[in-house]
Symmetry: C2
Subunit: 203 residues, 2 copies
């Protein structure tokens, strides 16, 4: 079965987004762009990690990661990424509000899943074949998968800032031993990749 | 004036110690040794960073970092490190209870400072000359120096574990832009070193 990898850029204090997301501020009340300077200011230095983030057979994301819409969908909203999103594969969006799938340019199709994280994972793993499934965020989505013991690896980018206030990736997930698989420092980021020790099935 | 460097091993979720320190559990209610496996299991791989942690002209530490004693001192207590502590320089211990200095073997002298973090820093900088002052922990001591805008650099070791519960190094310190000075991955740790942007003196 395909591996499940959580991917996210966080601050040194583990914050992945601010509170109060809006259309103008996809990351809420933290300084705009602060967690992704490495990606936008030094793309060549981080090419392999940028490519790795979107190198999956399928993706899962939370509703906020897909857009600022709350409640019923506004069918004009097709994600933050324009007509050709960087995923080029099926993307399963967790939501409480059903919506027809949206086929974008370049191979990305957004599917809306209303029956929970396990159902979304099952569909993503079916779609991914032997390739990994990336849980692409946001904070609350990765938290849920991690707390449920469904994450095999974390691929994180630690940005050089302490934010103080915001949504902490690891709040409330419990204790998880990790194995450091890879770690690389660049000018504006430290890339870390961990294998997650899933809880024993015997317990 | 000598640079002020905060040094600490933390978990991926930024925890530097557990609650409820005791004589038997210097790091409180987190799994014993979990944050320092890199130091004890792979010392050769991390020799330069181990050396760097104690390469300062003077040290500052909090009362809990020096010992589990609360309230008035028990004069038998001379720190966690035995007769020859690894510091080999003056160490200024923050406390509310006065105590005579203790000269240990190997050049370490513990001085007890009762008039606050700024007084301790002044004495440490006097003692350090051109060499850096290391704020060696614990969590609350580094937090206080950081929040007061008195830290120039952070030298951290990120251990591969999510702890969930414990004392978070960056809780309540506010927002701090950092500059990544160095970053290196080893088998059991990611070493990171940051320059802290102190708040503007004009503000």
């Amino acid at each position: 079965m395909s591996k499940v990898i959580g991917t996210m850029s966080i601050s040194l204090d583990g914050i992945g987004a601010g509170e109060n997301q809006t259309l103008e501020r996809p990351f809420g009340g933290i300084p705009p762009g602060i967690l992704h300077r490495w990606m936008f200011e030094t793309p060549e230095e981080n090419r392999s990690e940028i490519d790795a983030i979107v190198d999956a057979g399928a993706f899962i994301m939370g509703r906020n990661m897909f857009g600022p819409v709350r409640g019923e969908w506004d069918d004009d909203w097709q994600g933050w990424w324009g007509p050709n999103p960087p995923y080029h594969r099926p993307v399963f969006v967790l939501t409480h509000h059903a919506r027809a799938s949206i086929e974008m340019e370049g191979g990305t199709t957004f599917h809306f899943v209303t029956d929970g994280i396990e159902a979304a994972l099952e569909r993503a793993q079916d779609a991914a074949g032997d390739e990994p499934v990336h849980v692409a965020g946001g904070v609350s989505t990765i938290r849920q998968y991690l707390a449920a013991g469904l994450v095999d690896e974390l691929m994180l980018q630690i940005s050089p800032v302490v934010l103080g206030d915001g949504l902490r990736l690891f709040d409330g997930v419990g204790q998880w031993p990790l194995e450091l698989v890879a770690s690389r420092g660049a000018s504006l980021v430290t890339h870390v990749r961990y294998r997650v020790s899933r809880p024993s099935q015997d317990g």
